[in-house]
Subunit: 248 residues, 2 copies
DNA sequence: CGGGACTTTGAGCAAATTCAACCATTGTGG
DNA sequence: CCACAATGGTTGAATTTGCTCAAAGTCCCG
């Protein structure tokens, strides 16, 4: 696909308004587009492998992605989920610090790292934006440490659902019914729980009238305030969506 | 204290070689020095409060600091410890995302955030360096998520000790005997454990000949390889010190 | 020397895990 | 189009790891 096409694609991009490229004017966008390629990943396809040379960075435009780290014996920690508009590859190191796998069919913009880093020197706005993004990720990681280190299973699930909902709002998606594209096992590995505990906890929240589960991969938040109370979120955080609301 | 003095102090600074300022040449350092003040904190003194307007950023020059977040009922998660050379305040948001408290007498360089952000626009090297630092922090946060979500108490303590040791190496301090300036309660709140479990686990590691505890706040790592095996670290990571070795 | 803060150790308990069985959904080949 | 295998999810019982509660030991520091 020729470059000109990529620029048009960028200009028309549905997630441009929330992605890192939203700070660029047309000229700058064109320069970024000139080093941008497209990457498609099928469901369960691995996009990057932990430990591999970090040759590309990405921006998710469609679908969803999980990031994870493994221990020698197969235990897995999912460190985050990415949705359209999210940047993949922060932690600008020579090697990827985690693996990334597509959850459902996924579309990404791909940037060669060397070229992007060179371009950053010429597009200070973009560099500042990445620093901002890294800051947000950092704040979000700290929230997750609090969750993993100190919250009960119930609190973890409640927090998780509210956070997903807030991120959906940010993408302009309805947030009353939250999509859960990931499996129970993914949720468990993200929240530091087992599949069984995740499943049981959903059942309990349903029983207590806080959520409904019309489908396995879809939750209706019937009592946000109740969830927020369980989650131990400050009220502002609730709808602002913690780290992901900040900036831009 | 007048500015000129600060510049001299910067030039002579013992931690300059590992701090963010290490990328600056003399002229640039002088500009940074011109907006730099000194801040001293006594033991247990709070340096920043979660939720307060983020008016200053800091660089630790002496002592140690713990960063933490609280839940409404007092549960606490320590998200990190800072030592000389470390930057305090990343997560460049309008409000601090966590509190910071001195562990022992502490000395810091203090930068007004507004001025520093303005200066970043003129010192691209410094901005790039901060992005690098944020990347390192992010990688380190992901390691911590893996620890909190998936490791046993034994594995957590082993990982903690090796990480502290690696960071000590980086500061040029002997690493066989590791200083633990923080309390058992701090260690527990950092590793997602209780004081009692921390204490018991130290005892077990001692019994198994992996460590010695000549003093309460001092550990001798008598069997690094054994610890690394327990910690589930890749061998390179062991002495490289995970995230904190990367870059600069 | 005494008091307070911190640490260690012990005993019982509980939340979450493990192990096991069952159920639901989906996709495939006959 | 159905049977059925495979995958993923839910539920139950037993177990375990780490927590809570309690008490005793240690180390400062005045």
């Amino acid at each position: 696909m020729p470059r000109l096409d990529q620029f048009s694609r960028c200009q028309a991009c549905a997630v441009r308004s929330i992605a890192v490229c939203n700070v660029l004017d047309n000229d700058e966008l064109e320069r970024l587009a000139s080093i941008t390629g497209q990457h498609t990943a099928a469901n369960r396809e691995t996009i990057i492998y932990e430990g591999d040379p970090a040759e590309h960075l990405f921006n998710v435009t469609r679908g969803a992605i999980k990031l994870y780290k493994l221990l020698g014996d197969g235990r897995r920690q999912i460190t985050g989920f990415l949705f359209p508009g999210d940047f993949l590859g922060l932690a600008l190191h020579d090697r990827y610090a985690y693996s990334a796998e597509a959850i459902g069919p996924t579309q990404l913009c791909r940037f060669p790292r060397a070229k992007l880093e060179r371009l950053l020197g010429e597009l200070p706005k973009l560099e500042r934006r990445l620093l901002q993004t890294a800051s947000n990720e950092l704040a979000s990681a700290q929230d997750q440490m609090l969750l993993l280190g100190r919250k009960s299973a119930r609190e973890r699930i409640a927090t998780f659902l509210l956070t997903l909902s807030a991120r959906a709002v940010r993408r302009g998606v309805d947030s009353e019914i939250v999509d859960l594209p990931m499996s129970r096992s993914d949720i468990g590995d993200y929240l530091g729980l087992t599949i069984e505990t995740v499943s049981r906890t959903f059942t309990i929240l349903k029983r207590d009238g806080l959520i409904e589960l019309p489908e396995v991969h879809r939750v209706r938040l019937t009592n946000r305030r109740g969830l927020a109370e369980i989650a131990g979120l400050d009220d502002e955080e609730d709808f602002a969506g913690s780290a992901f609301a900040a900036g831009y």
